[in-house]
């Protein structure tokens, strides 16, 4: 038997394995209590001491890929830009289904940003920055700058296959999608500045 089995507490504490074991136990408890699905009052209380550790190392993640329900939403975002002279234009956020294979691979983060995040009401705080970004993208003629940006959602839900079984690759035309204007932002000249001076 080695010192681990036979040692006194003093000797055990000097053994690095005791510290490693303590860290492993602490880490597993932190991950389990903070990241496991669902929440109960008991777990909330138990997880409190571990929160600073999980937050500090950014270890939190709920692992809810396509869960509890897979997404059933097809859609896209569009920015409507009003210019100083009264004219309007549109900015279409990158749409994966309109890109080629390689572009789709490299631009997937735009889908994540627009469809999974900005589109949702829970991301209301991100709408002004998104509108300002759209304004900068649409600011092609400095003599006629954008003065207002509206953000629009366009979407259709995939229906229950027991109600309507559509074939793979079936598309609903854009003009038949549900539409909703979810944010309007006034644009100032400072919003249009490019560079780090803002």
């Amino acid at each position: 038997m080695n010192s681990w089995h036979t040692g006194t507490w003093g000797r055990r504490i000097r053994d690095p394995r005791a510290w490693i074991l303590g860290f492993v136990g602490f880490h597993i408890a932190a991950i389990f209590l903070c990241d496991f699905p669902g929440s109960s009052p008991v777990r909330r209380v138990l997880s409190e001491p571990f929160r600073p550790y999980v937050t500090f190392f950014d270890l939190g993640q709920n692992w809810s890929m396509f869960a509890p329900e897979p997404s059933s939403l097809n859609g896209f975002l569009r920015g409507e830009v009003k210019y100083q002279d009264g004219s309007t234009g549109f900015y279409e956020f990158p749409r994966m289904c309109k890109l080629g294979l390689m572009d789709r691979f490299f631009k997937e983060r735009y889908r994540k940003w627009a469809i999974d995040n900005v589109r949702a009401d829970s991301h209301r705080a991100d709408w002004p920055a998104t509108a300002r970004y759209v304004a900068r993208q649409a600011n092609r003629n400095p003599a006629v700058p954008p003065v207002e940006v509206s953000l629009w959602r366009h979407w259709v839900m995939v229906k229950d296959p027991m109600v309507e079984f559509v074939p793979v690759g079936y598309r609903v035309p854009d003009e038949k999608l549900e539409t909703f204007r979810f944010h309007v932002e006034k644009i100032t000249p400072a919003d249009l500045q490019i560079g780090e001076s803002r």
Binding site: F57, E69, F106, H123, V168, E196
Partner: protein
Amino acid sequence: MSYRKFLFKKEPVQGIALFRVVISALVLVNAVMLLPDLETFYSQTGIVSYASPRVFESVNLYYFLKPVFLSSQIIWGFHVLAAISLLIGFFTRTSAWIAFITVSSLHQYNPLILNSGDTVLRLMLFYLGFARSGDAWSIDRWISVRRGTGPRVPRLQMPWAQRLIQLQVAFLYFSTSFYKLDGKAWAYGEATYYTSRLWDFERFPVPYVFDHLWTIRLTTWSSLFLEFALGTLIWFRPLRIPLIFAGIALHLGIDYSMNIPLFEWIMISLLMVMLEPRQGYVLAKKIEGVFHRC
């Protein structure tokens, strides 16, 4: 197996070294893929507005730097250098920590573009900061052998950091299957009907499978069961290798049919680390043999 044996019985390091090479290559590819859109994602004129954090709650270099594009470029540059350094095993653990700190900072600047793959890579860098993954297949080892301070054959080491990764991976699979049990689409066997009808995720065509209810149910329930098994039954040795192969097949299938850039490859590399260290050693030796033959 007792927990002492599980964490502390000395094992070969070649398996975790191989994992380090694969994960750091994926970290590098992930970082390089950001380059064309770096300014859009990480500058004040990009898609998010970000102010330096006032309270230092998380590992975040923007606490010390202005949240301007130049800072992002510097952080990204260090991240890429650290990923390369980790890949070749030069100052291996330090490189893992630098890669972890830099990527955590970028993730906190713009969380709106992150997918689960990003989180997995960040966590793996955290774990590699503890692992003895530079004891084989690395510049660190080459230097120590040349200087005469390292053994000709890598020493066996305690695999506790690899065990932490294994526990994390099993937890990941178990919790995702647990989440899904709450969903009607998974319970009724219709989940893959929905995922195969999402226009933005389409990749290569899959004839027949997603056009019939019985195959849709089969793919839904089998992937749910497999995820549950990868989180639980994988600890039973006789089932481990078959489950790893089944997991690889699942992830390759998803990667073929759905546009989820690196996620499936990251998950396949995680399955590799689920091998026992001795099995990892055998795999690493086989790969070494292929390189020698080349």
